[in-house]
Every structure is written in structure tokens, then in C-alpha cells.
């Protein structure tokens, strides 16, 4: 922990022009990732997790307004000129997308696309060497018969194989940071487990730091050292994976964990958090989770709490201490009803 973090995000904000002035999709998030570690960013659709990552990689449309700071190996990414960030993208930072079918160019073979990824950042490499590297990469992500697969088109690959190829492409230039945006969402569950194993193994072998974006707590559970839970464009709770799972004190995180189906409770009905996330055009004043929160007080609708250390995690909730104690007033009543 002595060296500077691989990625350090401070007060990152991203806004889009709307009909009535800018609309903020990401409202000041702080995240930190050390080399070789995995950071899980968890949240529902629309919580701003993907936008935040795209903002720091400058992948948002030019109309987006990005501010704050995102330092990668000490270099500021926000506001970095396009020509400079191109040297980093695909070279030092690799990206994995949710839908590997649409993330590949349908008219080029898988091999040609990985070849291009290599060539883009290493213009001097000979064709022979580059092709050998493509085959090595495909083999390293456990694609059988890489010498045949290399000449096939994305549509000839199955979903899982495609995602493996996508990982191979992201790793083509030995990046030190991998951003995986819902890497397993488009896959079925058994394949999902294989892909996660592969990611975990590759990241460990090569010492790659990884930001794993997902809406599935189960995905980050076995992967991430640290977890950040996002809601309404902000980080509402961060901590180590264990602390988030066993000692969370944010009502939203508690709701997410309660909503995970469990084998041992198979007879029970599935639990859900009632309501829907707020629209970014019409964000409630105060805490953005308040309208769905069973513990919300009038205060919660007036002030938007900021992250502060409570118990073992950092939480943005006015009543975090009470939740930890679990003993007072409304909180206690809710606990007794079994709602939390």
C-alpha cells in the first residue's frame, strides 16, 4: 500500500445537456484501486456506474461535461488530450464490454481484430510475431483450437467463447488496468462462472488491477477485494468485500443483499426493494434513496449525506449508526418485522 494507487478517482462528475440545463449522471464519486487488486462497482441500471467508467476513459459523447479528477499511475485522465489518451486506451487500460457480440466488428475475423489491437499500439511488430501473439492470447483464454478459431467471424463463436476472445483482445497489449463493464451479464450462469474464474486467474497471474462493474452482488462476492455500491450517481457505501457483505449499514446495500436468492432459503419468496431508482431528470432532494427507504426520516429528504466511516465501512446514510446498533425506534421495529 506504500506505492501510489493504480487508479485514483476524486469527485468525478459527469453531466449531459438536458432540456432544462445539464443533468448529472455521476455526482462526485471517489474510488481507489491498487495495482493487482479487484474493485467491484455495484449498482442497479442507471446508478451511474458505467457512465463513470466511460467518463474517465473519455468514451462519452463530446456533449458530456466531465469534471473532477481521475489519476491513472499518477497521470490525470480527465481533460487529457485525445491523442494522449489514445496511447493509454487499449495499451495500458483494457476494456471488456457487456455484450461481446456487438462489441466485435461483425465483418472482421476475431484474429484480425486482435491483430489490429496489437498493431495499433506496436507498429513495428512483424506480421509473423503479431500472429503468433494472437494465437498465444487465444490459447491463454482457453479457446480450444486457436489456430482454427482465429480465422472465424464473431458470429461463429458462442457467447462464452466470444467473451473469452474479448478478454484476449483486452489483454493484447498487457494492460495494467482492466475495466470490465458487466462482463458476464449476457452469458448464462455456468458460462458466467467460467468467465469469472478466467478473469480472476488472468488478473492474478499478470498482476492486473481490475474494475468490475456489475449489478450482481454474487459476481463481485468472490472476485473483489473492495466493493463500492452506487446509487443515484453517487457511491453510497464502500468497504472491503467481507465488510460489505457481513457488516453493511446502508439500507440500500442491506436491501441488495437481502434480495440475493439463497439456496438455504429456497422455500421463501424472493425479496425485492420496492420502487424504482430515481430518474436523473427528477432527482429527489436529500438522499436519493430516501423515497424507497423504509427507515427514511424527514431529515433524509432534506439533506444528502456524504460518505463517512461508520462501523467497518464508509456509508452515506444519516441513520447508519442506528442501523449498526439496530436497537432504536423505527429501526428496531423494522428489524423485528424482519424487513432488514
Amino acid at each position: 500500500m506504500s506505492a501510489a494507487p493504480l487508479l485514483e478517482i476524486r469527485d468525478l462528475r459527469a453531466a449531459f445537456p438536458g432540456p432544462h440545463g445539464p443533468v448529472e449522471a455521476v455526482r462526485g464519486i471517489d474510488l481507489m484501486l491498487d495495482a493487482g487488486e479487484v474493485l467491484g462497482v455495484v449498482g442497479e441500471s442507471g446508478s451511474g456506474k458505467s457512465v463513470a467508467m466511460m467518463a474517465l476513459l473519455q468514451l462519452l459523447p463530446p456533449s458530456a461535461i466531465v469534471s473532477g479528477s481521475a489519476r491513472f499511475k499518477g497521470r490525470e485522465l480527465v481533460g487529457m488530450p485525445r491523442g494522449e489518451i489514445r496511447q493509454i486506451l487499449g495499451q495500458e487500460i483494457g476494456c471488456i464490454f457487456q455484450d461481446p457480440l456487438s462489441a466485435f466488428n461483425p465483418v472482421l475475423t476475431i484474429g484480425d481484430q486482435i491483430l489490429e489491437a496489437i498493431r495499433l499500439h506496436d507498429r513495428k511488430i512483424s506480421t509473423q510475431d503479431a500472429k503468433r501473439r494472437v494465437l498465444d492470447l487465444l490459447a491463454s483464454v482457453s479457446i480450444p483450437q486457436p489456430d482454427r478459431r482465429v480465422d472465424q467471424y464473431p458470429h461463429e463463436f458462442s457467447g462464452g467463447m466470444r467473451q473469452r476472445a474479448m478478454i484476449a483482445m483486452a489483454l493484447a497489449n498487457n494492460p495494467s488496468l482492466l475495466i470490465a463493464d458487466e462482463p458476464t451479464t449476457a452469458l448464462d450462469v455456468t458460462v458466467q462462472a467460467q468467465i469469472l474464474d478466467l478473469l480472476r486467474q488472468l488478473a492474478a497471474e499478470r498482476g492486473i488491477g481490475m474494475v468490475l462493474i456489475t449489478h450482481d452482488l454474487g459476481v463481485v462476492a468472490g472476485m473483489a477485494r473492495d466493493i463500492a455500491v452506487m446509487y443515484g450517481g453517487r457511491v453510497v457505501e464502500t468497504g472491503t468485500a467481507d465488510d460489505i457483505f457481513y457488516d453493511t449499514c446502508h439500507p440500500y446495500t442491506r436491501g441488495l443483499i437481502a434480495a440475493m436468492p439463497r439456496l438455504e432459503k429456497i422455500t421463501e419468496k424472493l425479496v425485492s426493494i420496492e420502487g424504482t431508482p430515481p430518474s436523473i431528470f427528477d432527482r429527489p432532494a436529500g438522499c436519493s434513496f430516501a423515497p424507497r427507504c423504509k427507515l427514511a426520516l424527514p431529515d433524509c429528504r432534506a439533506t444528502d449525506p456524504s460518505l463517512r466511516p461508520v462501523h467497518r465501512t464508509s456509508v452515506a446514510c444519516l441513520r447508519a449508526e442506528e442501523i449498526v446498533a439496530g436497537t432504536q425506534g423505527a429501526v428496531r421495529a423494522e428489524f423485528e418485522k424482519g424487513a432488514l
Binding site: G90, S102, A103, F104, G111, R148
Partner: protein
């Protein structure tokens, strides 16, 4: 990929793939290909055929079709069959050149407009709108009349009329494809703007242009003949179809003078429409059948 290719099952040859493609076309599309092939062979080899000189008197004037002159003779005693077949060397190359130029110019401008956006888009597309706001024949006539008669000038006039169609098509395609995820993935991989356009966007944009260009080919041939008909295209005595029909119209009761070139134009327009429709059925699965 020598080391790699040896391990790959032999891929079908180019000719074989073309044949498979032709077999997938509907019957009308196959008929279209046959007609176009006939004209292609004719225009390349007609000078070697045992035909009488299309520019010389071959018999008596205004003879109806007979064993000697299958399609009769015209007002100057020239053989209409010979003139019709020779006519393919005028109309078809002009139509081909016009369509190719219009596709190249229009697609380049349309791709630039769609990809760069902003004022480039505004300038190019307003120019296209202005051009499209004129009835095509009127605009082509005006330009051709200004430049003076002759097939090259008529061709230029037609390119000016036709490029905006391809500019619009290409722009719409680029706008659609540029938002796809693989484009974003390419940018995330560090590809530059030019590379993204050429490698990741344009190769996915050609289908509608190809289909439209095929269908337009017949339309352009028709417009070329129309310009010749009113005296703004080919100059007499060239056996151009449009001017031949014009001569036939002057001798209305000798119907056979216009019949040959008329059927020739009809066959080309019909063949390209058939083929274009067939291509759309095979290539563009989104459109209505």
C-alpha cells in the same frame, strides 16, 4: 497466415461463392443477371459480330422487319438491329460511369457529413437538399444544355443530379453504425478517428448503397436516353438508343425504328430493377419482402 491457413478447412473458392450467391437470388434476380450479362457481352464484342455497319446505308429506307433486316431499316436505310446492338456501347458505359461516380462522390460526402457532423454535415446536406429539390430531368436538362450536347456532358449532368441520393443513404448508415458498441469498443482500444471510420464503420454501410446503385443503373440509362431523345445527349449519327427513339418518333408509322432501342432500354431498366430487388431480398433482411 501461412502457418494458420494450412490448418483451416479449405474455404470455397471465390467463383464458387459467387455461384452460391446467385443461386440464393429469386428467379427474377437471376433473369436480371442473365439480361445484364447479355448486354455486357454484346457491348464488349459487338464490333466482331457479323453485322452491317450501323452508320452506313444497308438497304432501302424505312423497310419493315424482314429476313434481311430483322428489325427493319430507318429513315436513312440503316439496319435497326445493328444500330440497337451497337447502341449498348453508348448507353451502358455512360450509365455505369455515372452510377459509379455518383456512388463514390455521394458516399464520400455522405460519410463525411454523418461522421464529422456539425457544420460539415450542415453544408453538405443542405447542398444535397437543394439539388434534390429540382425535378431530376429538369435539372439534368438545364446542366446538359448549359454545357452543350454530347454524352460526356450529359454524364456530368447526371452525376450532379444523382450524388445526393447516395450522400443521404451513406449518411444515414454512418449515423446508425457509429452508435454501435463495436465502434465504442474500437475507440476504447485506442483507434483513431480515421481508422474507426474506415475499418469499423464504412464496411458495414455498403448494403443499401449497393442495392440502390443496382436499381438506379436502369434509371440512369433511361435518363441518358431521355437526354439523347431531346437532343442533349449523344449527337447523331451515333446509334444511341434515346436518339434512335427520337428518330423513330419522327417517323411514327414506321414503328420498328423505335421498337428495337425501346426494347433495349426496357430490358436494361427491368433487369436492374429485378436484380436490385433480388439483392435486397438476400442482403437486407430488415426490409419488407
Amino acid at each position: 497466415m501461412s502457418a494458420v491457413e494450412t490448418l483451416r478447412p479449405a474455404s470455397p473458392s471465390r467463383a464458387r461463392r459467387a455461384w452460391t450467391f446467385v443461386r440464393r437470388l429469386p428467379l427474377t434476380g437471376q433473369i436480371g443477371i442473365l439480361i445484364l450479362l447479355f448486354w455486357a457481352v454484346t457491348l464488349l464484342t459487338v464490333q466482331f459480330w457479323p453485322l452491317v455497319d450501323p452508320l452506313m446505308m444497308a438497304g432501302r429506307r424505312l423497310q419493315p422487319p424482314s429476313a434481311d433486316h430483322w428489325l427493319g431499316t430507318d429513315a436513312l436505310g440503316r439496319d435497326v438491329l445493328s444500330r440497337t446492338l451497337h447502341g449498348s456501347t453508348y448507353t451502358i458505359p455512360v450509365a455505369l460511369m455515372v452510377v459509379v461516380s455518383a456512388v463514390v462522390i455521394g458516399s464520400a460526402l455522405g460519410a463525411a457529413a454523418g461522421y464529422l457532423g456539425g457544420w460539415t454535415d450542415a453544408v453538405i446536406m443542405r447542398a444535397a437538399d437543394v439539388t434534390l429539390s429540382f425535378p431530376p430531368i429538369l435539372l439534368a436538362m438545364t446542366v446538359a444544355a448549359t454545357l452543350g450536347p454530347g454524352l460526356p456532358n450529359a454524364g456530368l449532368a447526371m452525376v450532379i443530379v444523382w450524388w445526393p441520393i447516395y450522400a443521404r443513404l451513406m449518411r444515414a448508415q454512418v449515423l446508425e453504425v457509429r452508435t454501435r458498441e463495436h465502434v465504442e469498443a474500437a475507440i476504447a482500444g485506442g483507434a483513431g478517428r480515421g481508422r474507426v471510420l474506415v475499418v469499423h464503420i464504412l464496411p458495414l454501410c455498403w448494403t443499401p448503397t449497393l442495392i440502390n446503385a443496382t436499381m438506379d443503373f436502369g434509371q440512369v440509362a433511361l435518363l441518358a436516353a431521355s437526354l439523347s431523345f431531346i437532343g442533349l445527349g449523344a449527337v447523331p449519327p451515333s446509334p444511341e438508343w434515346g436518339s434512335m427513339i427520337s428518330e423513330g418518333a419522327a417517323k411514327f408509322y414506321s414503328w420498328w425504328i423505335a421498337f428495337g432501342p425501346g426494347m433495349a432500354i426496357l430490358s436494361v431498366v427491368l433487369a436492374t430493377a429485378f436484380l436490385g430487388d433480388g439483392l435486397r431480398d438476400v442482403l437486407d433482411r430488415r426490409g419488407p419482402k
